[in-house]
Chain length 262, copies 2
């Protein structure tokens, strides 16, 4: 399978008999150059493999998961490709607000399509992750679009849950580690959604996993894994709100609370 002209390989390392690769491409919906990382398992030599999209948390790039999580061994064993996108648009021409801290702007795109200037032109991570990137992946690598799943951590868990709830049929499952479950009701989410989407909280609902449960139809199996010693649990994450909403709707959620883990 030949690579599109728009895709430049910048790293390729052998890893558990597969290949850990990194690419640079020009994103149309973000109007900037973006990196993503992809792990290709040995089984891809035989035929198309399932693919998991991993969404990282605040301050991360596409490289944190690749370097720290150790997921490649499992992906090699099970014959699954892993795609790790970046967490925001990048580049000197992309607006940022360093005075706002690490929880807004670059490294903190929150997986939304921003509507408020100056963010609305570049900060379209929702469309990038659900549409542009999978199209590029599907045409460039031997992955099976019919067997895609989505996962994420913290801000990325929020992204994974909202994308799975809004795109029935696109993801076979969704798994979230310590996700922000109700961004409309926590400081991280209120700050980011207020600035990207404006002050009308009704406009936040399409990016609030707990609110989306009440609109969703037939979501895929959902897993939340959460340590009960997580310092952000009480103020920022709110898995119990999401779990209550799923119970109200009789939706398939497995919530694992892990004793003593942060």
């Amino acid at each position: 399978m030949g690579l599109p002209d728009n895709l430049e390989q910048v790293l390729n390392s052998r890893c558990f008999n597969g290949e850990q690769q990194r690419y640079l491409h020009t994103s149309t919906v973000l109007d900037c150059d973006m990196h993503f990382s992809i792990y290709l398992p040995p089984a891809i030599a035989i035929g198309p493999v399932p693919v998991i999209y991993w969404l990282s948390g605040l301050t991360c790039t596409d490289e944190n998961f690749v370097q720290k999580a150790g997921a490649q061994r499992y992906a090699a064993h099970h014959g699954v490709a892993l795609v790790a996108p970046d967490t925001s648009p990048r580049g000197k021409h992309v607006p940022d607000d360093p005075d706002e801290g690490w929880d807004f702007g670059k490294g903190a795109g929150f997986y939304v399509n921003a509507t408020q200037p100056p963010w609305d032109h570049h900060y379209n991570m929702y469309d990038y992750i659900t549409q542009e990137l999978p199209q590029l992946i599907n045409e460039s690598f031997a992955v099976d679009p019919g067997r895609a799943a989505i996962m994420g951590h913290s801000m990325g868990g929020h992204g994974a849950l909202t994308m799975a709830l809004r795109n029935t049929g696109q993801y076979a499952s969704v798994s979230a580690f310590a996700p922000i479950c109700a961004p409309s009701r926590c400081p991280w989410g209120q700050k980011a959604l207020g600035r990207y989407l404006g002050d009308n909280q009704r406009d936040w609902e399409t990016y609030d996993a707990t609110a989306l449960v009440y609109r969703a139809e037939d979501p895929p199996p959902m897993l939340i894994d959460q340590g009960n010693a997580d310092e952000f649990l009480d103020e920022q994450l709110n898995p119990q709100l999401f779990a209550s909403a799923c119970e109200d709707s009789d939706f398939p959620l497995l919530l694992n609370m892990r004793e003593g883990y942060d």
Copy 2:
């Protein structure tokens, strides 16, 4: 087991049903405060466990291995403690030479006892790793000093090999990933040994694994794992020199060359 007054716990995270901890202590031989990380497997609740010392490479601290290697799962399964020390003395009063680059000074102690000023007062990583740190570990945690092993990567592989060859009986085995095998004959080693130990190359031999093979008696089983696509293989690492020396001496070396890995 109570902690010595000299040991301050700065992190503790549950990890594979054991605990990943980080400590700060005052080192006498380095004359500075030092961090180390230790993973305690669940089996430590039953009784003393074997312990593996991991020595990291250039530019690393005690945290790289902890965050990136994913070794805790194996350590939990096999019931082994993992100790990850820092790679050099630290602190504002410790001399450094930032103009010399990342391969000398802080983050690049090379696991030697320096003899040349200004390095000779603080840069005594050999004594720290082989004597002071294991004494502290043995008196502070339920590890079995009779079942200790040593491992390392690159500069840390050099440290592990030299320490195992010079301290027969202290380590049950030594394993080195992409180690600097003959520092007297590569640019990284020549620069560091020349500055820490002076220009007389005879003084370097006690820190050159290949030279040490010819002085060692009854070394433990040795493993070297090396990717043949490693960019530093030809100029810096020289595993073939070490392997030849071991063959001459009929020593127990397993050299795994990994096709295509960097």
